[in-house]
Symmetry: C2
Subunit: 346 residues, 2 copies
DNA sequence: CTGAAAGCGCTTACAG
DNA sequence: CTGAAAGCGCTTACAG
């Protein structure tokens, strides 16, 4: 008889009703046991658990969320620039650790700087009725998320601030970190410091450029267009541009690169020309093996683990009902000297 | 009146019922419009769409999956070793691209080689009623997934095969790739070739060790325990072990490292001793900047993009009803010479 | 082409 | 401590 039940037609999943029938109790009693309500007679608990195991019963999250008062899906969204980029991936993992501790699942997504994809993926999160979203947005207008917020879904912005929307935010200290790096180069006598930056639409790319300008201005220098290249996205693009600068009439004596792929591209260009002991470079964002190159690459390191943890802590506090005013957390950067940034200007 | 509806109490989400009321049609007509059924009068379509927009209506996936015949949740699970590791992250992204093209969301998770976490996360996928799962398992017994398969959930194994379970599998050609690398070292005159490997419980770690042994045996050499270290997981552990080998009585003249963190650790140990032009090394799995080190690091490159794409293609075919016998795909590795593996034995 | 009724798997609200 | 009824938001199955 037992076999008859457990070997039902393939494709069948046991429901609470099936468990109730096998355990000879009511549906509601099964529900109580599955939800660990303490008011069930121990013997019934045992019978229900046995039946549930026998039928390989797994509760249906969707169905329970549907009827539940709080409507919780035990799912959050983590939408970042590109989960295959180590910065995004590290944030994702830090969030995942906190989520798993709460038995919360994570829907992940990558925007690749495409605002349409941001719209698609946030709408998808809405249809999945996630309990909250951590987002590093690609777009520059986030008013469309207001409705979701009103429906009770908290958003925490990481790496980039919300525009035209009030929401919690966790950012690196990009501008000051960049200024510090460029001051360091200035202090070594560099006057012709090139800048390589990511898309100007990206908030952090702007901040890092501003920091670069801040430091030059503070030193009485003027940023010159011929040493500035922005809207770079890839190693190859950075390598070509940096090479162009180095081969030009008045080559830079130092580089500041606003993103790790750009740093790597510039390092390639410098090494191709055997200038690695003559031209200085400091990069924003650390990367694996930066210390094994010769010279080691000096960087402004971000702290994606802390960014992810802070964001998750904010998100779960909101999910738990915290309705205090939105917060803005700044995570400090760390300047790590390894050699490439300590080359003096001849 | 419109405002009265759209400015309902905060926390309220519009339902089909609300849309139907505003558009003055039945619930069923709204359902038809939302699901793009063609048999609705154009004027009603317009009215419904307007009402839906006005109320910021987003369909509830969970509710529709509940009643739907096929029970599709439009969600898949992608459970890998560690999403912050570039190999896993690249597979994840490749799957994500194929998923987004089908408007399917991705629940991501990392096992960190913890079989309990595998159990937790697969159970969680079951409770979310995902349509399918791509998995790089941590455990060595996958019989427990049989019930899910019977319930109609396809599993595709990547990087590691299923044990005691029949399922689609996508693997790198680890054994042959490793053998080729070690043959290459043997051909350069190396006889004392050290092996650094990951946990022996990991299938690929076994395969790579086997490949190492295959090549030695084929050359008439015998693997010697004093040059073999397995169960290594981190850069630091590999560095310490490799350093110990190099400082020992009969140091190796070459290394074969079965994983990229181990390769990096060995490279550190070699460079610390200024032996980078004397001791050869070949690593399994490519890594960013391997070409920028001096010498560049020769590797057996895997192809995680192809692995991810093949796995997703298999999974979606199964979801679409393909019930042919399970498939096993082998993705070829590529031997990339960059210098470190071409150092001859003195 | 449109709609009223039933039901997916579960929790709520209530009665005993 | 236990259970029968109603209902979450949607789709199915059916009637018009």
């Amino acid at each position: 008889m037992v076999d008859e039940v457990s070997s039902r037609s393939p494709g069948h999943r046991a429901t609470m009703k099936d468990v109730a029938a096998l355990a000879r109790v009511s549906l509601k009693t099964v529900s109580r046991v599955i939800n660990d309500e303490p008011t069930v007679h121990p013997e019934l608990v045992l019978r229900v658990r046995r039946a549930a195991n026998q039928l390989h019963y797994q509760p249906n999250f969707g169905a329970s969320a549907l009827r539940r008062r709080d409507g919780r899906s035990s799912t959050i969204g983590v939408l970042l620039e590109d989960l295959s980029n180590p910065f995004s991936a590290t944030i994702y993992r830090a969030v995942e650790e906190m989520a798993i501790a709460r038995s919360v699942s994570v829907l992940g997504g990558s925007f690749d700087e495409d605002p349409r994809r941001e719209l698609e993926l946030t709408a998808s999160m809405s249809r999945h009725r996630v309990d909250g979203v951590i987002i590093a947005p690609a777009s520059r207008d986030h008013q469309y998320l207001r409705q979701e917020q009103l429906a009770g879904v908290p958003f925490v912005f990481v790496d980039r601030p919300p525009y035209l929307l009030d929401a919690d935010t966790v950012l690196s200290n990009s501008r000051e970190g960049s200024a510090q790096a460029v001051e360091h180069l200035v202090a070594l006598g560099h006057r012709r410091i090139a800048f390589l930056g990511d898309l100007v639409t990206i908030h952090t790319a702007q901040e890092r450029f501003q920091g670069y300008c801040d430091a030059l201005t503070a030193a009485g220098l003027t940023p010159v267009d011929s040493l500035i290249s922005r809207n770079l996205r890839t190693i190859d693009a950075a390598e070509i541009v940096a090479g162009g600068f180095l081969d030009g009439e008045n080559p830079p004596t130092a580089f500041f690169a606003g993103q790790n792929l750009l740093t790597i591209g510039a390092v390639r260009a410098i090494r191709d020309r055997r200038l690695q002991q003559r031209v200085a470079i400091v990069g924003f964002d650390d990367f694996l093996l930066a210390d094994l190159l010769e010279p080691g690459v000096t960087v402004v390191a971000q702290d994606p683990v802390t960014i992810g943890r802070e964001a998750a802590a904010l998100l779960f506090a909101r999910i738990d009902g915290d309705d205090s005013p939105s917060q803005k957390k700044i995570v400090e950067t760390t300047f790590i000297t390894r050699g490439s940034g300590e080359i003096q200007c001849r």
